[in-house]
Symmetry: C2
Subunit: 400 residues, 2 copies
């Protein structure tokens, strides 16, 4: 099997190699890429950082989620770049080189699953695995005009995967078509009966948090979805407000990230990019009291949102408040965008709910038409029904 | 058993008579009154109109809902006044005399279950049966400072009851205490397991539809309920808007009311009070197309609201936009209030959902402190869980 050229810089150059399917199944003939956070036997898992790879060696086994794709007939073609240890949303990596945003070359691809999104958006593969802690599948999918899913917390095993903040980490995947997004779900997710019958609940603060052009570009799609669900209701599922959600997310993520990696960072003294090193310093500074308070808020938010959605209701919101930032946006602007973005992605993230982003619209920017995603968030464990719904919604919106 | 004097004018004078319990049970020792819309064997059911009584005669049987109370050990002490054929919300009846609002003597008691609310609010009985088509239990309960329930559509039989608009009619009951409201539910309603876990959803437009003083008086109760549920979310469950809900309610009610009573009105030519006669003329003028369109809206609203609440969420809203109107308010003001009121009561009414009103607050008016109710609306068929929740909420709010 010949590999295409990788002009988007999606793959880690030393990790472009074909791994054949182990059986035949629902993904026969599908080629896929894997974020270099998942173990594949015989490959070094770098986690986006050369020192991580050096200190951890060659993986002996293959992560179950990768093995499940291979066993369904899919063929792996290589491992993709990631923000170091998945700790970032823009997709930058100074060690392997930041992948291109294939849709908007002057802009960042988003991350941390930057190579996976670039591999699919550039047309090299129809499917790539990523992971999502605070938005690392959803945000790059929105930036590059792809479908992406963050499943329910715990629905798919993360064994054999480099962790960041275990209670928030999930795998996820990117496709260019809604039908394949769903087909992969039928391989990786437990079966379920019934569909999501609505109502569709627009998350008011996330719509106002988005840039006005983003909200305006997505609103026609929202109006057309009324054909599936009847009138769209508005709801404020997180009266704490987006700024507070970001603070609580940051406390839990930081506490767990330092618990997970603090020993390695202080012991092995790895070279980290300045931005990721700064995030780990912030993680180390989270107090036990902050993390405990945040976990209390999360528990109540989980109860509340699971109650709200248990009957088949679906939240709908802009995936990201903005299109992909320009590559030269500058650190201060990127950090401000990160906080505003996580306030929105933390709704599904803290509540552990499945979220699918659809490439529903684009906004006019000086360098072209930048994609923006529309997210559907379903009840806990309703991942398969949410994927079916996303396919129906895509058909209604004349999307691929 | 000696009967108290009826200074509130709650009972129909000729229908004050004790009917003994038929068995012993959960309502032993409870005396109750019955709106004169329910058949009790040996009594004439007047439906609030002398010509109805004259043309229909003495009831041969007892309505099952009355029989169930008697079989649970409760003792009936008489039949109470009602707006003619239950077609009105203010509680006026020129034939039997309008009952007093025991809490606010210069104000109307609300209706159509005006005698039942007056009998309980004046302390004569702890329990009275009413009926609710567009608010006829909820509104008088709010006006007179009582608890009241409108159950899920169809949850309790209306056999042996004068109908108004069968797809909207429900029985209901009034008490001064939350515990008895719940205890009656355990006699009349099917059992269920589980509790309503929230979240609590404030219905935004009903809060803004209420007079500012009413909303302000009820908001502290809403804030205190956060102790049961966590933060109160806001939702717009009826994006059609309150004015449209009133129009759709009016079309369905009118269509059914004329189907039910048009033959009697044109055939028997009964004497009706001017206000009720005008409502029937309006009912006769509803077109088939209006009613069909309204039924389509109702179906979609049912689907939507049942989906929203199926997971245990609870809507919360002011029961009435205003306290009881003054007895001399005038027909135009009362008609405007009726439209605004039904826009709010039609949410549970059209969706067929159970609603409980709690005597949660009072607003200062020139003649005293006028009660106003806070409503909780639960998922379809969750009546028993809603009654338990209302009792918990009452305890939290230091209500009886």
């Amino acid at each position: 099997m010949e590999l295409q050229s990788d002009e988007a810089g999606a793959f880690i150059p030393g990790a472009r190699a074909v791994v054949a399917p182990t059986a035949s199944g629902g993904l026969n003939g599908i080629r896929f890429a894997v974020k270099d956070l998942f173990d594949v036997a015989g490959f070094i898992t770098t986690g986006g950082n050369p020192d991580w790879g050096r200190t951890h060696g060659v993986a002996a086994g293959t992560a179950p989620v990768v093995a499940a794709l291979l066993a369904a007939g899919a063929e792996m073609v290589g491992k993709t770049k990631t923000v170091e240890l998945a700790f970032g949303l823009t997709g930058e990596n100074p060690w392997h080189g930041t992948p291109q945003n294939p849709r908007m070359p002057a802009r960042l691809p988003g991350g941390s699953s930057c190579g996976s999104v670039a591999a699919v958006a550039s047309g090299q593969v129809p499917l790539a695995l990523g992971s999502d802690t605070g938005g690392s599948v959803r945000i790059p999918a929105s930036y590059c005009g792809l479908y992406g899913i963050r499943p329910s917390q715990g629905a798919i095993s993360l064994a054999g995967t480099v962790p960041l903040a275990p209670s928030l980490d999930t795998p996820g995947w990117f496709t260019r078509e809604a039908a394949l997004l769903e087909r992969v779900g039928s391989v990786l997710l437990p079966g379920e009966h019934g569909r999501l019958g609505g109502p569709l609940l627009a998350v008011a603060e996330v719509w106002t948090n988005a840039e006005p052009e983003v909200a305006a570009a997505l609103r026609p799609a929202l109006a057309r979805l009324a054909a599936l669900f009847g009138p769209v209701l508005t709801v404020e599922p997180a009266p704490e407000g987006i700024a507070a959600l970001y603070a609580h997310y940051r406390a839990i993520q930081g506490d767990e990230a330092w618990t997970t990696h603090g020993g390695w960072i202080t012991g092995a003294k790895p070279a980290l990019s300045p931005a990721v090193a700064a995030r780990f310093r912030g993680a180390a500074a989270v107090t036990t009291a902050q993390a405990a308070a945040a976990r209390g808020v999360r528990q109540r938010m989980q109860d509340r949102l699971r109650g709200l959605l248990a009957g088949g209701a679906v939240l709908v919101q802009p995936t990201s408040p903005a299109p992909a930032p320009l590559c030269d946006a500058g650190d201060a602007a990127l950090e401000a965008l990160r906080e505003r973005t996580i306030g929105a992605t933390a709704i599904a993230g803290l509540a552990g709910l499945p979220e699918v982003t659809l490439p529903a619209a684009a906004v006019r920017v000086p360098d072209g038409d930048a994609p923006v995603g529309l997210s559907l968030i379903g009840g806990f464990g309703r991942d398969r029904a949410l994927l079916s719904l996303a396919r129906e919604a895509a058909a209604l919106l004349d999307l691929p």
